[in-house]
Symmetry: D3
Subunit: 292 residues, 6 copies
């Protein structure tokens, strides 16, 4: 999310906790390459959380193997990060459902951040990012997440997320029910991925603002180079849209969906496009003509 | 075939004749990596048979250039391999139509193996594997193959194979006619490959047991990474099915076809999937979703 | 164009002007590899024109960044190349609209070549190759190109080209109008590229001879490996056809279109197929079957 | 060690504890490729221990970053592995000082294995493998290792190891003192690496049997491709020598040192040479002539 | 120079003029990766200056082919860059002899920068960087450089540079004569590269401060991965030393020489080491031991 | 040899017999890239002779595995090649001892070529190229080679070659004895390779003309990239020297040795340098300085 926002010339800082070793240096250098602020990253913990990706292709789906246990983020506890200072000039705070999925103390630290951001009046967004292979520390998502989500104003949540995290039935009413449960949630976004095969997906997005639904066009994406990170690119597009053209909800969802569609065409789990590239892409309707 | 069977935790031995050189060492180490037994491979001959593959893509088809003449297998003669010993604990023997295509003596050695296996009551399967660029030693397939096929119980044969090898007309009656010609042939399998282009094929399988036909669903495979070896993966699935769930012919053909479909997504001419992966794949209907 | 023609066993010479440095040596060695004659290339100028290609994939289109300013070709002037000698045994002369797009003096040298070829009675073809990122030396294409095109007998021109270069309306009458404007233009070819996305195009060709239109079948090409150079392969096919089977216009357009379709399956901006490969490809209807 | 021994046609089994995931499958397949027995590996634990290597070159040294905490081996406890069964037909047991360095319970399990092997009369060897970046669970090597080493008959130990592990002064008497401390230690081996730079080392070995010292010649190795694993290759050579030509101590140390020298010329941390290759290498004195 | 200084946690800005295109975006992203400030880079000019490197190895030397003509820097003129603003908080200004070698106007812009820096009292360093393949715009180095060098306080200059740029005889007196000619030059640094072959150089440095000479130890570097950029790394070490421990000239030259020696072990023309890495390297005397 | 001569702008044709397949097309295209004439290559035979190279490095020597049996050259017989036509404008004929090593009929065809060349008065050179792994068709080199060598004027032969091929004792008198045996042999060249290890050789050459010996300087070559083909490059240098500056024997041996030394720095078994590059290299004494 941070890398994508930085590509839009948005000043963005990534907050994390990393062990002090050469891998962390590499990760930080990677973020700097894309212009992401790294000065608020703190050091600590025994190892860096990593994951292994076996990329899918054609009829064979991909696999992710998480190796995040005992990472610097897993042993993060409240009080380690100076949120007041970090939020001083902040205009937005985004968090992911993966953080509270790693450990109880990371969930507590997330709550701490949210309460401080809330007190300081900063808009908050969250991507629920449900991962069945995480959440192994003894608590269910539904015991932890409601308390966290209630401070958020923008959420990316599918019907399935609503069920897993909040026991809300995954039907057409779920957005309405989410809003009932979490009155701060003005904006509920969701994406629809139709998986024809691992190399061919259809992808579209929806943004519901107080019950009014704005839908993007659907992108027919094949071959997919790497789908990992598309959700993050979608989220970055939403945040950028809310900050830059909040009066134009249709443009927000179009921009976010386009950014996510383009992510599918690049390897790795980040993508950094320029605003003009996204806009040209929307114009092109994804027809992929050559420019020369 | 051996590599795929080994992936299913089936104890399998590969019988071949290789020259004693560093290339053979590499080949054997490759087989061992997949758990294939190599203790019955014998040494001899001047060179290792190889082939060159120019992989096709999109509208351009691939090409295979065989360089198998004068290989260890080509100079194999009856008496070189101790079939009685090899078959002692065997529960299945599979042979390929490529072996008798290489030389007259290799055809003789194949016959020797078949007669011994037959005498010892071992079930036999054969993949006809017609290759127009082989069969250059002066005999036609139809002069050699009937004598060999008559010992087999399971065959993979297309209508075209039936014509080339046995002068049976390639019409809908060919399976019936095959059974008439070769009374041991209880099971006749075939695959249907619709080549839309080199990167996009539709693939399905059929298993005819005593005239009753079991059909798999059709897989729509694109992009194809490498189609070479799909027939072998199909064969391995059939053999595994016959050994493990012979009472369920529909499952046999589903399993074999799925294994072959998955092969298309990996480079190289072997693929080693686990049984659970095949089963999950059948469940997924080839939609290629990511698992995380 | 030269590389493709050489693949067809046509004796072909490439005329250019290159600086005397190691890059030129590499370029010349590349041409020699494909059998293209390089003896008439002259040396001079400060640098070699290059371009950078960001290949498109899926919904993301490619980009070309030209870096051709101040190249040896840009500072080419009339009198530098001994056209009389070069054309002595020539049976065809092909030029590209990119040359006069680079500099005024290169346009003058192109005119010089055309006038000499014309005087010597050599058939001339041109590919207009409009590139919006070139033509930066102060003249519009429409001020320069009519004087050059009038000597040509075969042109590859789309309706859009007709408008940009000759202010001819891009409607169905444009070929007719082109012929009115340039009486030498017996043959007008065009290609139709339907860009579904950067990896999936439909491609067909048309050849209009004195108002009679011959159309190729349409190739459905995916995945595309590299579309750059397809137009040149099309042009080479046209020239070869005009030289070898001019009495069979349908074969000309079929051959040219097939050659261009195949180009999409190879990386780089040249492709060298053999005549027999093109013919087999036309037979196969682009179904991409494996040959073994 | 296991991979190298397997290359010498020694039947060898690798004992470990791995989590049940795709990484473990890869690791096991890697071992099988070299013919190492994997049937006694047990499954369990949260993650696989890994390390990251930044290879050194020229004047810049390499770096290893261990990420072994919380691995399957770290949570190994006594009772998990059925040593009696494993040792049934064993003729040798080799262990590494890295195992007790990972966790207290792994140290306990090592002790369990050693006591059982000792009771069953199996010869035992150990490579101390001191790694400053491990041993982080609260105990010093010198508190743990003496109890383990006392069961061993062959040790690879440098003067520095003797000091770190047993507080024995690192002087010329250290081997004598080791034998006093651990009466079972008949054979004490050591290597001498003179690091001229990261790509150029001189390497020799020494084997002390009851006070009689056998020295190898010194190999001048440059450029080094990858020095990691050379100690393991040395150890494998010692074990093979003890098993095959124990009556010839000079041959043992020559063989072990040669095997380790050759390891430096291959990437990765294992090397599998054949006995004949080692012998030819000793003959060649490392002159690296081409064989053709 | 900027990348190396940034690795030492020095705040550094790179001043250049680049065309507005995708190549520039890549170059800027590359600089950001290393933490170099890019906010003062201005846009303009037709192309980006590039060079092609054929890396040497063993007895074969490398070659550089410059393609810098008509770059953004070549058309830089005085007045384009707001030096007053840039120098506002600057504590050092470094320039290279390559800039005035490209064009007359670039030389003028260099002079402009130097005069402003001089007026603002900023310490100035210069690396003469003589390149025989540049200086093609009609002026000799000796007509241009004296006027520029006279504002500098620290120079990297070999005897050969002194002769080419200032017609000072290349003998042991050249540093003395340089100081006479340019009274501001307090510090004169030089490196000594003994080229045994392209993969094996000996490298040492010298720093002369007001006639007192401080010499580094000599590094014996083989194999060399890439020597391009070593001079820049040397320069960065000098500047860092002058800023951080100017009272310790021996440490300055040791640090600069070590940084340059390490550069030889990395591909590419930049290297970013941390201060602690340089210090550990000096301790290690370049013996390249592995750390684990 | 042909590739190297072509790099010196010598018109050269390669004579061989290749099967008509895609591998041959690739091989021919490779030769054309370097400007070698291929028009006299004839088609025939079952396969292309190939070899596998395991490159040596450091103390580990390389290995060549020949797979040349049954190649187009092996089944070459007298009468297949029109030598009279080929030699019409030839000024030199070079053959290798590898050809008669492959088969009896290839040896006969070599004799045919030599007798015709001799009759037509063409200077002949031979590189004995002894390969222990060839010569397997039942004849010893000493039964075949004397009859062939007697037509040659220039030979590359080591003392060991003299013994293997002609039973001449490998002492300092061998050149003298060779000349006695083969009166046409005016020029006897030899190289001296001191193998310190596979990556570090010392290499020098000697040319004996009627008993007067001209010696090159010795090149100290490390790291070696690929030594295969160095002998061919040496031979090409000799031939070029004999053709271009036969009056200057010292220059011949200097040129040949330098060309061979440079070959060691390039991968693959051919190298194509320009005359000016060789001359600059001789000037540089192999010090490998960068040119920029």
């Amino acid at each position: 999310v941070a890398v994508a926002l930085s590509g839009f010339n948005t000043l963005v800082h990534y907050i994390s906790r990393l062990p002090q070793n050469d891998l962390s240096d590499l990760a930080i250098s990677f973020l700097k390459k894309y212009g992401v602020g790294v000065d608020d990253i703190i050091y600590g913990g025994e190892r860096m959380g990593i994951y292994f990706l076996e990329n899918g292709v054609s009829v064979r789906g991909g696999k992710v193997l998480y190796d995040r246990a005992y990472s610097g983020m897993a042993s993060l506890t409240p009080g380690m990060i100076n949120w007041e200072k970090i939020f001083q000039n902040a205009v937005w705070f985004h968090w992911s459902g993966i953080t509270p999925a790693i450990s109880a103390s990371a969930a507590d630290a997330t709550l701490e951040a949210l309460q401080i951001a809330h007190k300081m009046g900063i808009p908050i967004s969250v991507d629920l990012n449900y991962r069945g292979n995480l959440w192994k520390y003894g608590k269910n998502p539904s015991e932890v997440m409601p308390e966290l989500v209630k401070y958020s104003h923008l959420i990316a949540a599918s019907p399935e997320d609503a069920e897993v995290f909040f026991s809300i039935p995954p039907n057409s009413e779920y957005k309405c029910n989410l809003r009932k449960e979490f009155p701060n949630l003005k904006k509920i976004a969701s994406t629809k991925r139709i998986s024809i095969n691992a190399s061919h997906n259809k992808w579209s997005g929806e943004l519901d603002i107080d019950g009014i639904v704005y839908s993007s066009s659907e992108y027919d994406i094949y071959p997919i180079v790497d789908r990992v990170g598309a959700g993050d690119s979608f989220m970055a597009g939403l945040i950028y849209g809310c900050l830059q053209f909040s009066e134009n909800p249709q443009k927000i969802i179009d921009f976010a969906t386009a950014n996510a569609a383009l992510k599918h065409t690049l390897p790795g789990d980040v993508a950094s496009f320029q605003v003009a590239e996204i806009e040209a892409f929307i114009q092109s309707e994804g027809k992929g003509k050559i420019s020369r």
